[in-house]
Protein backbone atom coordinates (compact mmCIF):
# COMPACT_ATOMS: atom_id res chain seq x y z
CA UNK A 1 0.00 0.00 0.00
CA UNK A 2 1.26 3.44 -0.84
CA UNK A 3 2.00 6.07 1.80
CA UNK A 4 0.73 9.63 1.54
CA UNK A 5 2.45 12.36 3.52
CA UNK A 6 2.00 16.09 3.77
CA UNK A 7 4.51 18.38 2.14
CA UNK A 8 6.50 20.09 4.94
CA UNK A 9 7.79 22.89 2.69
CA UNK A 10 6.23 26.32 2.22
CA UNK A 11 4.85 25.44 -1.23
CA UNK A 12 5.36 29.08 -2.11
CA UNK A 13 7.55 29.84 -5.05
CA UNK A 14 9.49 33.03 -5.34
CA UNK A 15 9.59 34.67 -8.72
CA UNK A 16 12.79 34.42 -10.69
CA UNK A 17 14.53 37.72 -11.24
CA UNK A 18 16.83 37.92 -14.24
CA UNK A 19 20.26 39.42 -13.78
CA UNK A 20 20.90 42.62 -15.71
CA UNK A 21 23.39 42.52 -18.56
CA UNK A 22 27.04 42.71 -17.60
CA UNK A 23 28.65 46.11 -18.02
CA UNK A 24 30.63 46.37 -21.24
CA UNK A 25 32.84 49.13 -19.88
CA UNK A 26 33.66 50.74 -16.55
CA UNK A 27 34.10 54.14 -18.16
CA UNK A 28 31.61 56.51 -16.55
CA UNK A 29 29.75 53.71 -14.78
CA UNK A 30 28.58 54.24 -11.21
CA UNK A 31 29.81 51.31 -9.14
CA UNK A 32 28.36 50.87 -5.67
CA UNK A 33 30.76 49.59 -3.03
CA UNK A 34 28.80 48.03 -0.18
CA UNK A 35 30.58 47.65 3.13
CA UNK A 36 28.74 45.03 5.20
CA UNK A 37 30.27 46.37 8.45
CA UNK A 38 32.73 43.57 9.01
CA UNK A 39 36.34 44.13 10.09
CA UNK A 40 38.66 44.98 7.21
CA UNK A 41 35.90 45.23 4.64
CA UNK A 42 36.92 48.88 4.33
CA UNK A 43 40.49 47.90 3.45
CA UNK A 44 39.24 45.85 0.53
CA UNK A 45 36.81 48.54 -0.61
CA UNK A 46 39.39 51.36 -0.33
CA UNK A 47 41.61 49.45 -2.73
CA UNK A 48 38.75 48.75 -5.08
CA UNK A 49 37.70 52.39 -4.97
CA UNK A 50 41.06 53.61 -6.21
CA UNK A 51 41.33 50.87 -8.82
CA UNK A 52 37.87 51.70 -10.16
CA UNK A 53 38.61 55.43 -10.24
CA UNK A 54 41.78 54.76 -12.26
CA UNK A 55 39.65 52.93 -14.81
CA UNK A 56 37.23 55.82 -15.19
CA UNK A 57 34.40 54.43 -13.06
CA UNK A 58 32.56 56.46 -10.44
CA UNK A 59 32.67 54.55 -7.14
CA UNK A 60 29.98 55.25 -4.59
CA UNK A 61 30.24 53.95 -1.02
CA UNK A 62 27.43 52.36 1.00
CA UNK A 63 27.38 50.67 4.36
CA UNK A 64 25.04 48.12 5.94
CA UNK A 65 24.13 48.83 9.59
CA UNK A 66 25.19 45.31 10.59
CA UNK A 67 26.61 42.35 8.75
CA UNK A 68 24.32 39.97 10.63
CA UNK A 69 21.11 41.09 8.95
CA UNK A 70 20.00 41.51 5.35
CA UNK A 71 20.48 45.03 3.95
CA UNK A 72 17.47 47.24 4.73
CA UNK A 73 15.01 47.65 1.88
CA UNK A 74 15.72 51.37 1.56
CA UNK A 75 19.43 50.77 1.19
CA UNK A 76 18.83 48.14 -1.49
CA UNK A 77 16.56 50.52 -3.34
CA UNK A 78 19.08 53.33 -3.08
CA UNK A 79 21.82 51.16 -4.56
CA UNK A 80 19.56 49.81 -7.29
CA UNK A 81 18.52 53.27 -8.43
CA UNK A 82 21.88 55.01 -8.08
CA UNK A 83 24.33 52.44 -9.43
CA UNK A 84 25.04 50.52 -12.61
CA UNK A 85 26.64 47.71 -10.63
CA UNK A 86 27.50 46.92 -7.03
CA UNK A 87 30.36 45.13 -5.33
CA UNK A 88 29.68 43.78 -1.86
CA UNK A 89 32.64 43.33 0.42
CA UNK A 90 32.80 40.33 2.64
CA UNK A 91 35.55 40.58 5.17
CA UNK A 92 38.02 39.19 7.70
Amino acid sequence: MSTKVFDPTSEQFTSIVESPDRLTSLEGATIGLLDISKPRGDVFLDTLESLLSEKGAIPKRYIKPTFTKPAPVDLRHQIATQCDAVIEALAD
Binding site: D7, P8, T9, T66
Partner: protein, 482 residues
Protein backbone atom coordinates in the same frame (compact mmCIF):
# COMPACT_ATOMS: atom_id res chain seq x y z
CA UNK B 1 -16.36 1.67 2.28
CA UNK B 2 -18.49 3.47 4.85
CA UNK B 3 -19.57 6.83 3.54
CA UNK B 4 -21.14 8.29 6.63
CA UNK B 5 -23.46 11.06 5.56
CA UNK B 6 -22.85 10.38 1.87
CA UNK B 7 -25.89 8.39 0.98
CA UNK B 8 -26.09 6.96 -2.52
CA UNK B 9 -29.18 5.61 -4.18
CA UNK B 10 -29.19 1.83 -4.56
CA UNK B 11 -28.37 0.65 -8.05
CA UNK B 12 -25.59 2.04 -10.18
CA UNK B 13 -23.89 5.43 -9.98
CA UNK B 14 -21.45 6.81 -12.55
CA UNK B 15 -18.79 9.52 -12.40
CA UNK B 16 -17.83 11.23 -15.67
CA UNK B 17 -16.43 14.40 -17.15
CA UNK B 18 -17.11 15.82 -20.57
CA UNK B 19 -13.42 16.47 -21.07
CA UNK B 20 -12.82 12.72 -21.18
CA UNK B 21 -13.21 11.13 -24.66
CA UNK B 22 -14.21 7.79 -23.10
CA UNK B 23 -17.00 9.48 -21.17
CA UNK B 24 -18.38 11.12 -24.30
CA UNK B 25 -17.93 7.81 -26.15
CA UNK B 26 -20.15 5.95 -23.67
CA UNK B 27 -22.83 8.63 -23.43
CA UNK B 28 -25.29 6.34 -25.30
CA UNK B 29 -24.49 3.52 -22.82
CA UNK B 30 -25.26 5.77 -19.86
CA UNK B 31 -28.42 6.86 -21.57
CA UNK B 32 -29.47 3.22 -22.11
CA UNK B 33 -28.76 2.25 -18.47
CA UNK B 34 -30.74 5.26 -17.30
CA UNK B 35 -33.67 4.25 -19.49
CA UNK B 36 -33.65 0.72 -18.09
CA UNK B 37 -33.74 2.34 -14.67
CA UNK B 38 -30.71 0.73 -13.05
CA UNK B 39 -28.40 3.75 -13.41
CA UNK B 40 -29.66 6.09 -10.71
CA UNK B 41 -27.26 9.02 -10.93
CA UNK B 42 -24.49 10.31 -13.17
CA UNK B 43 -22.17 12.75 -11.43
CA UNK B 44 -20.50 15.14 -13.82
CA UNK B 45 -17.16 16.62 -12.81
CA UNK B 46 -17.08 19.48 -15.29
CA UNK B 47 -20.15 20.31 -17.36
CA UNK B 48 -23.33 19.77 -15.28
CA UNK B 49 -25.30 19.38 -18.54
CA UNK B 50 -23.20 16.42 -19.62
CA UNK B 51 -24.52 13.84 -20.22
CA UNK B 52 -27.88 15.33 -21.06
CA UNK B 53 -29.93 13.09 -18.79
CA UNK B 54 -32.51 13.73 -16.10
CA UNK B 55 -30.34 11.82 -13.63
CA UNK B 56 -27.21 13.91 -14.23
CA UNK B 57 -26.01 15.77 -11.14
CA UNK B 58 -23.36 18.41 -10.75
CA UNK B 59 -20.17 17.36 -8.95
CA UNK B 60 -17.97 20.09 -10.39
CA UNK B 61 -17.05 21.02 -6.82
CA UNK B 62 -15.72 17.44 -6.67
CA UNK B 63 -16.97 16.77 -3.16
CA UNK B 64 -18.37 13.33 -3.91
CA UNK B 65 -15.61 12.43 -6.33
CA UNK B 66 -13.04 13.32 -3.69
CA UNK B 67 -14.77 11.62 -0.80
CA UNK B 68 -15.43 8.46 -2.82
CA UNK B 69 -11.79 8.50 -3.96
CA UNK B 70 -12.70 8.40 -7.64
CA UNK B 71 -9.42 8.15 -9.53
CA UNK B 72 -10.60 7.47 -13.08
CA UNK B 73 -13.52 8.59 -15.21
CA UNK B 74 -15.72 6.91 -16.10
CA UNK B 75 -16.16 5.03 -12.83
CA UNK B 76 -19.26 2.97 -12.29
CA UNK B 77 -20.25 2.10 -8.71
CA UNK B 78 -22.61 -0.61 -7.60
CA UNK B 79 -24.55 0.59 -4.54
CA UNK B 80 -26.45 -1.45 -2.02
CA UNK B 81 -28.07 -0.14 1.18
CA UNK B 82 -26.70 3.30 0.39
CA UNK B 83 -23.12 2.12 0.24
CA UNK B 84 -20.74 1.20 -2.52
CA UNK B 85 -20.16 -2.52 -2.84
CA UNK B 86 -17.90 -2.55 -5.90
CA UNK B 87 -16.70 -0.42 -8.80
CA UNK B 88 -15.28 -0.65 -12.30
CA UNK B 89 -13.32 1.99 -14.16
CA UNK B 90 -12.85 2.91 -17.82
CA UNK B 91 -14.85 1.29 -20.58
CA UNK B 92 -14.66 -2.39 -21.45
CA UNK B 93 -17.95 -3.50 -22.95
CA UNK B 94 -17.82 -7.05 -21.59
CA UNK B 95 -16.90 -5.84 -18.12
CA UNK B 96 -19.77 -3.35 -18.02
CA UNK B 97 -22.20 -6.03 -19.20
CA UNK B 98 -21.06 -8.41 -16.47
CA UNK B 99 -21.05 -5.69 -13.83
CA UNK B 100 -24.55 -4.51 -14.75
CA UNK B 101 -25.77 -8.07 -15.36
CA UNK B 102 -27.04 -7.14 -18.81
CA UNK B 103 -26.54 -9.49 -21.73
CA UNK B 104 -26.04 -6.93 -24.44
CA UNK B 105 -25.11 -3.30 -24.05
CA UNK B 106 -25.23 -3.29 -27.81
CA UNK B 107 -24.70 0.23 -28.81
CA UNK B 108 -23.65 0.11 -32.41
CA UNK B 109 -20.49 1.72 -33.60
CA UNK B 110 -18.82 2.09 -30.19
CA UNK B 111 -15.40 0.59 -29.73
CA UNK B 112 -15.38 -2.18 -27.16
CA UNK B 113 -12.53 -0.77 -25.10
CA UNK B 114 -11.35 2.66 -24.03
CA UNK B 115 -9.27 3.21 -20.88
CA UNK B 116 -10.77 6.40 -19.45
CA UNK B 117 -9.07 9.48 -18.03
CA UNK B 118 -7.91 10.78 -14.68
CA UNK B 119 -10.59 12.02 -12.34
CA UNK B 120 -10.47 15.77 -11.68
CA UNK B 121 -10.50 14.95 -7.98
CA UNK B 122 -6.94 13.61 -8.19
CA UNK B 123 -5.57 16.63 -10.05
CA UNK B 124 -2.45 17.50 -8.01
CA UNK B 125 -3.17 21.22 -8.34
CA UNK B 126 -6.58 20.77 -6.75
CA UNK B 127 -5.45 18.49 -3.92
CA UNK B 128 -4.71 21.12 -1.27
CA UNK B 129 -8.08 22.80 -1.87
CA UNK B 130 -9.97 19.50 -1.83
CA UNK B 131 -8.14 18.28 1.28
CA UNK B 132 -9.01 21.48 3.02
CA UNK B 133 -12.67 21.51 2.00
CA UNK B 134 -13.63 17.87 1.98
CA UNK B 135 -10.74 15.92 3.50
CA UNK B 136 -8.56 16.39 6.52
CA UNK B 137 -9.14 20.14 6.60
CA UNK B 138 -5.44 20.59 5.94
CA UNK B 139 -4.22 22.68 3.04
CA UNK B 140 -0.81 21.16 2.43
CA UNK B 141 -0.10 19.14 -0.66
CA UNK B 142 -0.20 15.38 -0.21
CA UNK B 143 2.83 13.60 -1.57
CA UNK B 144 2.24 9.99 -2.46
CA UNK B 145 4.96 7.39 -2.41
CA UNK B 146 4.57 4.29 -4.54
CA UNK B 147 4.13 1.04 -2.66
CA UNK B 148 7.52 -0.11 -3.92
CA UNK B 149 9.21 3.00 -2.50
CA UNK B 150 10.72 3.14 0.97
CA UNK B 151 9.10 6.30 2.35
CA UNK B 152 12.06 7.02 4.62
CA UNK B 153 14.45 6.94 1.69
CA UNK B 154 12.02 8.96 -0.43
CA UNK B 155 11.84 11.71 2.19
CA UNK B 156 15.62 11.91 2.27
CA UNK B 157 15.59 12.24 -1.51
CA UNK B 158 13.12 15.11 -1.26
CA UNK B 159 15.55 16.98 1.00
CA UNK B 160 13.24 17.19 4.00
CA UNK B 161 15.63 15.67 6.52
CA UNK B 162 18.38 17.17 8.64
CA UNK B 163 20.32 13.96 8.11
CA UNK B 164 18.51 11.84 10.67
CA UNK B 165 15.45 9.77 9.85
CA UNK B 166 12.16 11.63 10.01
CA UNK B 167 8.71 10.37 10.91
CA UNK B 168 6.43 10.31 7.84
CA UNK B 169 3.91 13.17 8.31
CA UNK B 170 0.80 11.22 7.40
CA UNK B 171 -2.67 12.69 7.66
CA UNK B 172 -3.37 10.74 10.82
CA UNK B 173 -0.20 11.90 12.55
CA UNK B 174 -0.52 15.54 11.50
CA UNK B 175 -4.15 15.71 12.63
CA UNK B 176 -3.15 14.15 15.94
CA UNK B 177 -0.33 16.68 16.27
CA UNK B 178 -2.75 19.55 15.70
CA UNK B 179 -4.78 18.36 18.67
CA UNK B 180 -1.87 19.65 20.74
CA UNK B 181 -2.87 23.26 20.08
CA UNK B 182 -6.11 25.19 20.20
CA UNK B 183 -4.92 27.26 17.26
CA UNK B 184 -6.34 26.74 13.82
CA UNK B 185 -4.11 24.95 11.31
CA UNK B 186 -4.32 27.78 8.83
CA UNK B 187 -3.33 30.48 11.31
CA UNK B 188 -0.23 32.29 10.15
CA UNK B 189 2.20 32.36 13.04
CA UNK B 190 4.97 34.41 11.50
CA UNK B 191 7.14 34.84 8.43
CA UNK B 192 9.97 32.36 8.50
CA UNK B 193 13.44 33.29 7.28
CA UNK B 194 15.36 33.18 5.10
CA UNK B 195 12.64 33.09 2.43
CA UNK B 196 10.16 34.94 4.66
CA UNK B 197 7.31 32.68 3.60
CA UNK B 198 4.14 32.46 5.64
CA UNK B 199 4.45 29.96 8.46
CA UNK B 200 1.15 28.32 9.38
CA UNK B 201 0.38 26.21 12.43
CA UNK B 202 -0.19 23.33 10.01
CA UNK B 203 3.31 23.52 8.55
CA UNK B 204 4.78 23.62 12.04
CA UNK B 205 2.71 20.55 12.94
CA UNK B 206 3.98 18.66 9.88
CA UNK B 207 7.58 19.43 10.76
CA UNK B 208 6.96 18.60 14.41
CA UNK B 209 5.68 15.17 13.38
CA UNK B 210 8.79 14.66 11.28
CA UNK B 211 11.01 15.69 14.20
CA UNK B 212 9.39 13.09 16.43
CA UNK B 213 7.40 15.44 18.69
CA UNK B 214 4.31 14.48 20.62
CA UNK B 215 1.23 16.72 20.23
CA UNK B 216 1.72 18.18 23.69
CA UNK B 217 5.08 19.62 22.62
CA UNK B 218 3.52 21.60 19.78
CA UNK B 219 2.69 24.79 21.73
CA UNK B 220 6.36 25.03 22.72
CA UNK B 221 7.50 24.64 19.13
CA UNK B 222 5.02 27.27 17.92
CA UNK B 223 6.04 29.77 20.61
CA UNK B 224 9.74 29.13 20.01
CA UNK B 225 9.28 29.85 16.32
CA UNK B 226 7.34 33.02 17.08
CA UNK B 227 10.21 34.13 19.29
CA UNK B 228 12.94 33.13 16.84
CA UNK B 229 11.39 34.73 13.77
CA UNK B 230 11.66 38.33 14.92
CA UNK B 231 13.99 41.10 13.90
CA UNK B 232 15.40 41.12 17.45
CA UNK B 233 16.30 37.45 17.51
CA UNK B 234 17.44 37.64 13.90
CA UNK B 235 17.06 34.00 12.91
CA UNK B 236 18.16 34.94 9.39
CA UNK B 237 21.55 36.10 10.62
CA UNK B 238 21.92 33.21 13.02
CA UNK B 239 21.30 30.84 10.14
CA UNK B 240 23.47 32.62 7.60
CA UNK B 241 26.50 33.22 9.81
CA UNK B 242 29.71 31.29 9.34
CA UNK B 243 29.82 30.79 13.13
CA UNK B 244 28.76 27.47 14.70
CA UNK B 245 25.55 28.68 16.30
CA UNK B 246 21.85 28.03 16.26
CA UNK B 247 18.73 28.54 18.33
CA UNK B 248 19.16 27.05 21.82
CA UNK B 249 15.93 26.59 23.78
CA UNK B 250 15.25 26.10 27.44
CA UNK B 251 11.91 25.67 29.11
CA UNK B 252 10.47 26.90 32.41
CA UNK B 253 7.13 26.22 34.08
CA UNK B 254 4.92 23.22 34.80
CA UNK B 255 4.91 22.04 31.18
CA UNK B 256 8.46 20.70 31.69
CA UNK B 257 7.13 17.99 33.99
CA UNK B 258 3.84 17.53 32.17
CA UNK B 259 5.67 16.47 29.03
CA UNK B 260 8.43 14.67 30.89
CA UNK B 261 11.40 16.85 30.00
CA UNK B 262 14.80 16.10 31.42
CA UNK B 263 16.35 18.75 33.63
CA UNK B 264 18.61 16.35 35.51
CA UNK B 265 21.31 13.90 34.50
CA UNK B 266 22.43 14.36 30.89
CA UNK B 267 19.88 17.13 30.34
CA UNK B 268 21.90 18.44 27.39
CA UNK B 269 22.47 15.01 25.96
CA UNK B 270 20.52 12.23 24.35
CA UNK B 271 17.78 10.08 25.75
CA UNK B 272 14.74 12.26 26.33
CA UNK B 273 12.15 12.60 23.61
CA UNK B 274 10.98 16.14 24.40
CA UNK B 275 14.52 17.47 24.86
CA UNK B 276 15.63 15.83 21.63
CA UNK B 277 12.74 16.72 19.35
CA UNK B 278 11.48 20.21 20.25
CA UNK B 279 14.60 22.03 19.10
CA UNK B 280 14.75 19.72 16.10
CA UNK B 281 11.18 20.63 15.11
CA UNK B 282 12.14 24.30 15.13
CA UNK B 283 15.19 23.65 12.98
CA UNK B 284 13.30 21.43 10.53
CA UNK B 285 10.71 24.19 10.14
CA UNK B 286 13.43 26.73 9.37
CA UNK B 287 14.85 24.27 6.87
CA UNK B 288 11.69 23.18 5.14
CA UNK B 289 9.41 26.20 5.32
CA UNK B 290 12.03 28.94 5.49
CA UNK B 291 14.39 27.27 3.03
CA UNK B 292 17.38 27.56 5.38
CA UNK B 293 19.65 24.70 4.41
CA UNK B 294 23.31 24.05 5.22
CA UNK B 295 25.58 24.94 2.33
CA UNK B 296 22.97 27.30 0.93
CA UNK B 297 21.86 30.20 3.15
CA UNK B 298 23.35 28.40 6.17
CA UNK B 299 27.03 29.24 5.71
CA UNK B 300 28.42 27.74 8.93
CA UNK B 301 32.10 26.97 8.64
CA UNK B 302 31.92 24.04 11.03
CA UNK B 303 28.43 24.06 12.46
CA UNK B 304 27.69 22.06 15.56
CA UNK B 305 25.75 18.96 16.53
CA UNK B 306 23.65 21.36 18.62
CA UNK B 307 22.21 22.67 15.35
CA UNK B 308 20.22 19.47 14.95
CA UNK B 309 18.25 20.99 17.80
CA UNK B 310 19.14 21.87 21.39
CA UNK B 311 16.43 22.10 24.01
CA UNK B 312 16.46 21.45 27.75
CA UNK B 313 14.56 22.33 30.91
CA UNK B 314 15.56 24.06 34.12
CA UNK B 315 15.39 21.94 37.26
CA UNK B 316 13.17 24.36 39.14
CA UNK B 317 12.34 21.89 41.90
CA UNK B 318 15.99 21.22 42.73
CA UNK B 319 17.16 24.79 42.43
CA UNK B 320 17.97 26.82 45.53
CA UNK B 321 16.81 29.93 43.65
CA UNK B 322 13.74 31.19 41.78
CA UNK B 323 13.68 30.00 38.20
CA UNK B 324 15.09 31.86 35.23
CA UNK B 325 11.60 32.88 34.12
CA UNK B 326 10.64 34.03 37.62
CA UNK B 327 13.67 36.30 37.58
CA UNK B 328 12.13 37.91 34.51
CA UNK B 329 8.81 38.42 36.30
CA UNK B 330 6.87 35.39 35.12
CA UNK B 331 4.92 33.37 37.70
CA UNK B 332 5.92 29.83 38.63
CA UNK B 333 2.78 28.51 36.94
CA UNK B 334 3.50 30.23 33.65
CA UNK B 335 5.24 28.19 30.96
CA UNK B 336 7.99 29.92 29.05
CA UNK B 337 10.49 29.17 26.36
CA UNK B 338 13.73 31.08 26.10
CA UNK B 339 15.36 31.21 22.70
CA UNK B 340 19.08 31.91 22.82
CA UNK B 341 21.52 32.21 19.92
CA UNK B 342 24.20 29.79 21.00
CA UNK B 343 26.81 27.22 20.19
CA UNK B 344 27.16 23.74 21.61
CA UNK B 345 27.63 23.14 25.35
CA UNK B 346 31.10 23.10 26.90
CA UNK B 347 32.01 21.86 30.35
CA UNK B 348 33.57 23.97 33.08
CA UNK B 349 35.28 21.65 35.51
CA UNK B 350 36.03 22.74 39.06
CA UNK B 351 36.33 19.96 41.56
CA UNK B 352 38.40 21.81 44.14
CA UNK B 353 36.68 25.09 45.03
CA UNK B 354 35.00 24.88 48.39
CA UNK B 355 33.91 28.48 48.91
CA UNK B 356 31.42 30.50 46.90
CA UNK B 357 34.00 33.16 46.22
CA UNK B 358 36.53 30.66 44.86
CA UNK B 359 33.95 29.04 42.66
CA UNK B 360 32.70 32.37 41.25
CA UNK B 361 36.25 33.19 40.20
CA UNK B 362 36.71 29.77 38.74
CA UNK B 363 33.48 29.79 36.72
CA UNK B 364 34.37 33.27 35.45
CA UNK B 365 37.67 31.90 34.23
CA UNK B 366 35.87 29.10 32.49
CA UNK B 367 33.69 31.57 30.63
CA UNK B 368 36.58 33.69 29.40
CA UNK B 369 37.33 31.31 26.56
CA UNK B 370 33.95 31.65 24.85
CA UNK B 371 34.59 32.45 21.18
CA UNK B 372 38.07 33.78 22.01
CA UNK B 373 39.76 34.78 25.27
CA UNK B 374 40.64 38.18 23.81
CA UNK B 375 37.13 39.02 22.65
CA UNK B 376 34.79 40.48 25.26
CA UNK B 377 31.32 41.95 25.69
CA UNK B 378 29.99 40.95 22.30
CA UNK B 379 28.85 37.48 23.31
CA UNK B 380 26.36 36.49 26.01
CA UNK B 381 26.47 33.07 27.65
CA UNK B 382 24.21 30.58 29.34
CA UNK B 383 25.69 28.95 32.42
CA UNK B 384 23.94 25.68 33.19
CA UNK B 385 24.99 25.44 36.79
CA UNK B 386 25.26 21.93 38.15
CA UNK B 387 23.69 20.98 41.51
CA UNK B 388 27.03 20.44 43.24
CA UNK B 389 28.33 23.80 42.08
CA UNK B 390 25.09 25.56 42.97
CA UNK B 391 25.17 24.08 46.47
CA UNK B 392 28.46 25.91 47.13
CA UNK B 393 26.65 29.19 46.56
CA UNK B 394 23.46 28.14 48.35
CA UNK B 395 25.38 27.04 51.43
CA UNK B 396 27.03 30.46 51.54
CA UNK B 397 23.62 32.12 51.27
CA UNK B 398 24.29 33.73 47.89
CA UNK B 399 21.30 34.72 45.79
CA UNK B 400 21.41 33.96 42.09
CA UNK B 401 21.80 37.67 41.41
CA UNK B 402 24.86 37.75 43.66
CA UNK B 403 26.33 34.76 41.86
CA UNK B 404 25.67 36.41 38.51
CA UNK B 405 27.28 39.69 39.55
CA UNK B 406 30.26 37.98 41.15
CA UNK B 407 30.99 35.88 38.08
CA UNK B 408 30.74 38.84 35.72
CA UNK B 409 32.92 40.94 38.03
CA UNK B 410 35.56 38.23 38.00
CA UNK B 411 35.64 38.27 34.21
CA UNK B 412 36.76 41.92 34.21
CA UNK B 413 40.19 42.27 32.66
CA UNK B 414 42.52 45.03 31.60
CA UNK B 415 41.66 45.80 27.98
CA UNK B 416 45.38 46.42 27.39
CA UNK B 417 45.88 42.67 27.77
CA UNK B 418 43.25 41.98 25.13
CA UNK B 419 44.30 44.36 22.38
CA UNK B 420 45.16 43.16 18.92
CA UNK B 421 48.65 41.68 18.64
CA UNK B 422 49.12 41.45 22.42
CA UNK B 423 50.69 38.12 23.43
CA UNK B 424 51.65 37.60 19.81
CA UNK B 425 48.01 37.05 18.87
CA UNK B 426 46.50 39.29 16.21
CA UNK B 427 42.95 38.63 17.32
CA UNK B 428 41.72 41.03 19.97
CA UNK B 429 40.19 44.39 20.69
CA UNK B 430 40.81 47.51 18.61
CA UNK B 431 43.28 50.05 19.96
CA UNK B 432 40.44 52.35 21.00
CA UNK B 433 39.73 50.15 24.01
CA UNK B 434 43.18 50.73 25.55
CA UNK B 435 43.16 51.73 29.20
CA UNK B 436 39.68 50.35 29.93
CA UNK B 437 38.61 47.60 32.29
CA UNK B 438 36.19 45.29 30.56
CA UNK B 439 34.08 42.30 31.64
CA UNK B 440 33.76 39.30 29.35
CA UNK B 441 29.98 39.47 29.62
CA UNK B 442 27.78 42.55 29.61
CA UNK B 443 26.47 43.13 33.17
CA UNK B 444 22.91 43.89 32.04
CA UNK B 445 21.80 40.39 31.11
CA UNK B 446 24.89 38.94 29.48
CA UNK B 447 24.94 35.87 31.73
CA UNK B 448 21.94 33.56 31.92
CA UNK B 449 22.16 31.20 34.88
CA UNK B 450 20.01 28.09 34.56
CA UNK B 451 20.01 25.34 37.16
CA UNK B 452 20.19 21.76 35.99
CA UNK B 453 22.13 18.54 35.71
CA UNK B 454 22.79 15.35 37.60
CA UNK B 455 23.35 15.25 41.34
CA UNK B 456 26.95 14.14 41.11
CA UNK B 457 29.76 16.03 39.42
CA UNK B 458 31.43 19.29 40.31
CA UNK B 459 30.77 20.73 36.89
CA UNK B 460 28.80 23.40 35.16
CA UNK B 461 28.34 23.90 31.45
CA UNK B 462 28.58 27.04 29.39
CA UNK B 463 26.75 27.68 26.16
CA UNK B 464 28.46 30.55 24.43
CA UNK B 465 26.35 33.06 22.54
CA UNK B 466 26.62 34.63 19.14
CA UNK B 467 26.91 38.40 18.67
CA UNK B 468 24.48 39.89 21.15
CA UNK B 469 22.37 43.01 20.96
CA UNK B 470 20.80 44.93 18.08
CA UNK B 471 23.75 44.23 15.79
CA UNK B 472 23.35 40.50 16.22
CA UNK B 473 20.74 38.54 18.09
CA UNK B 474 18.93 39.25 21.33
CA UNK B 475 17.79 36.24 23.29
CA UNK B 476 14.16 36.32 24.24
CA UNK B 477 11.74 34.63 26.65
CA UNK B 478 8.07 34.12 25.79
CA UNK B 479 5.12 32.63 27.54
CA UNK B 480 3.97 29.41 25.92
CA UNK B 481 0.33 29.70 24.99
CA UNK B 482 -1.86 26.93 23.70
Amino acid sequence: MGMGSLSLEDGYVAFVKQDCPTCTLIEPVLSQLAEIGILKTVYSQDNPDFPSLVITKDDSELELSFKLKIETVPTLLKVSNGEETSRIVGWLKQEWEDFCEIKDLGVDGISEFSPGCGSRSIDPDLQPMLQKRFGSGLGSKLVEFASSEDEFEAMYELGWSDGLPIVPPTEKRVLKMLEGTSRSGDEIVTLVPPNLDNLTVEKIAINAVMAGCKPEYLPIVITALEAACTDEFNMHGLLATTMPVGPVLFINGPIRNEIGMNSGMNLLGQGNRANSTIGRALQLTIRNVGGGRPGEIDRATHGSPAKIGLCFAEDEEGSPWPSFSQDLGFNADQNTVTVFPGEGPRAIVDQLSRSAEELARSLAMGLLGNMHPKLVLGFDAILVIGPEHASRFAEAGWSKQEVNEAIITHTIREADLLLRDVDGVAEGLPQGFAGLQLPKLRPDGGLLIVYGGGGAGLFSTSIGGWLSGPKGSQYTTREITS
